[in-house]
Symmetry: C2
Subunit: 347 residues, 2 copies
DNA sequence: GAGGCATACGACAACGTTGTCGTTATCCGG
DNA sequence: CCGGATAACGACAACGTTGTCGTATGCCTC
């Protein structure tokens, strides 16, 4: 049989052996009130003796909950991001007795498979889902989740902050601070490598950079801002383009670490010493940035913490009605990570 | 209410509207035989009209299956590995209508929380689980999974290949080939950076390296083999140690890409040009190896494909008894990835 | 045309919980 | 000592499927 034939001890067996009704056993299991201390102890002892665990499907069917939280990605491509999100989400889910289900909306062939996503949503009966960027700004996805009546929290949404609870960090302020740090080292020609414009973080970081430069009274020439897509290769090309400028920038701020590593590779290829002749800083605190040489100065993005907070917000809404809280927003702190890839300019 | 109040259309509603029994609707849903073409079409039309989807919990309870496949990690630490595994597993799970649940055995505080794992196993009622290394060789974990009666597939197990179905790749042969490639370029002093000895892949790769050297009649001095732990930093230290040798190796083969990047960083720190003065090769084909300069020559490990195959093996065992297959082993192919970090030695 | 045998259904009982509500004891105040 | 509140249970019906088995119908065979 393909069936999951477990030990087969059910709530009925426990109840019979304890000489109580199944409802009382249920009360003990779920720590509900309405069971005396003595009965409670007796039932618990029998539960322990048989190592009885309630059947999840039956519980789900009866209580109309699944104890499943979905973490939805567009695709599982940026492994670092995916890993961080899951690590954080899993921490919170575990604490609350929920399981984490991974889903991606995009099909293997690259199509945006909304129909399949809706099917999953209906089939699995998630108690709640976490929508990661850029999905959390997609109208079709939001509509599908809402139509399915599933609670959701958005991670770093770009639009409609009032539409649903969300978690975020202040990318703009972090980028501003990162830029000012370069300025305070003495850099004046600071270039920027941007990210995809439909990505909130990318836009905010760029805005933070521009704001810092404006504050210092610098008009940023268009050629100082190179386009990128958050992948390393685009950083490499951006780096080559920026290094070809005359006068050459003394510092390059890449919108994320992957692109910063690309800039580093471009500098290595062209024999530009970092940080002596060029400072390079990134954003995200990806692990690869620790193994470059020089090690990458960056901003730590609290991705895991954001995911953890998101799941916690969901769980709080499922809880006992008396303690239920409806948190609508949570802001997490970033942290500047100073390593070796940025230094005062020479000459 | 915290309940998941869905649309509320059930199999009963469909049956009533179609003028058939619920069993017939069930037959249509599950493509069972025993329903005539005309009835089938009529029922399907009504299902489509109401966008009816069967309730997962009820189905699970009744059929004693959960349509949940667990992917179990020790911890979610190597993001690249985790991401690849999930990407592959998700592909296969989707095709078969299963959901992917992520679990880690190690608790947040670093303890090995077997009790919690057993609880999850019993609670969630996975139809099957995929055990990733090094969990797949842990006696306690194997015992727990077997005690719970859950089908499982092991990824790259180190021991007891007969105990359960598994997927693997030939790390030894790949490492041997990688080493011979360096030899054929003209390298004679080839050093190696090893990984943790409880990790099958690490041991096999080291063995492949040694075997290649033996085949070429080279006695490998002990100092040519530097210890590592698969993390980048250990590669950095290993690189520094190996570069200090006299005579210095002309090539360093790191047991994985992260450590290879560490070696690259050490070379950069000490002004050793790669690949002119030193060739460096890795293993895994991690994305970060593509953004180093020079780009890393490595071996592509088919992690995603292995995970995909593992889930497929599980699913095949759940299927219709008539077509059920019990595959016990599947070997995936590696692929050498030649990039810029290795070249013939000069002088 | 009788007998045998598929095929196409339906009735009904699981599956193992939780939710609702009723029924006892028990206690307390006046 | 009575009425009313409260706490501690139990009976029983959901929950929405799938599994088992019985039954009617049609068709083929000789």
């Amino acid at each position: 049989m393909a069936r999951n034939d477990r030990k087969g001890v059910t709530i009925v067996d426990i109840a019979r052996e304890a000489g109580v009704s199944i409802k009382t056993v249920s009360r003990v299991i779920n720590r509900e009130e309405g069971a005396g201390a003595e009965v409670r102890a007796r039932v618990q002892a029998i539960i322990d003796k048989h190592d009885y665990r309630p059947n999840a499907s039956a519980r789900n069917l009866s209580s109309r909950r699944s104890y499943l939280i979905g973490v939805i990605f567009l695709r599982l491509v940026s492994h670092h991001y995916v890993g961080e999100v899951q690590a954080g989400a899993l921490r919170a889910a575990r604490r609350a007795g929920y399981q984490l289900v991974v889903e991606q909306v995009e099909a293997a062939d690259g199509r945006f498979d909304l129909e399949a996503f809706a099917a999953v949503l209906a089939n699995v009966a998630f108690d709640g889902v976490v929508l990661t960027p850029p999905l959390c700004d997609d109208q079709d996805v939001l509509a599908a989740v809402e139509a399915a009546g599933v609670a959701y929290v958005r991670m770093a949404p770009n639009t409609e902050p009032g539409r649903a609870p969300f978690v975020w960090m202040d990318d703009l302020e972090a980028a501003r601070e990162q830029t000012l740090g370069l300025w305070d080292m003495g850099h004046r020609r600071i270039a920027f490598v941007g990210g995809p414009s439909d990505h909130r973080a990318a836009v905010q970081r760029r805005e933070g950079y521009l704001q810092a430069m404006r504050e210092r009274g610098v008009a940023v020439p268009a050629e100082w801002i190179a386009p990128g897509d958050f992948f390393g290769l685009s950083g490499f090309y951006a780096g080559e383009a920026l290094l070809a400028l005359d006068p050459r920038p003394t510092a390059i701020f890449a919108g994320n670490d992957e692109m910063a590593l690309g800039v580093l590779a471009a500098a290595a290829k062209h024999g530009v010493a970092v940080p002596e002749a060029l400072s390079v800083v990134g954003f995200d605190n990806a692990p690869a940035g620790e193994m470059s040489w020089p090690r990458l100065t960056t901003v730590h993005q609290p991705t895991a913490e954001m995911a953890e907070a998101a799941v916690e917000m969901l769980v709080k809404r499922f809880g006992d009605a008396r303690f239920r809280e409806q948190i609508t927003e949570q802001k997490l702190d970033y942290r500047l990570v100073v390593r070796g890839s940025a230094a005062p300019p020479r000459g």
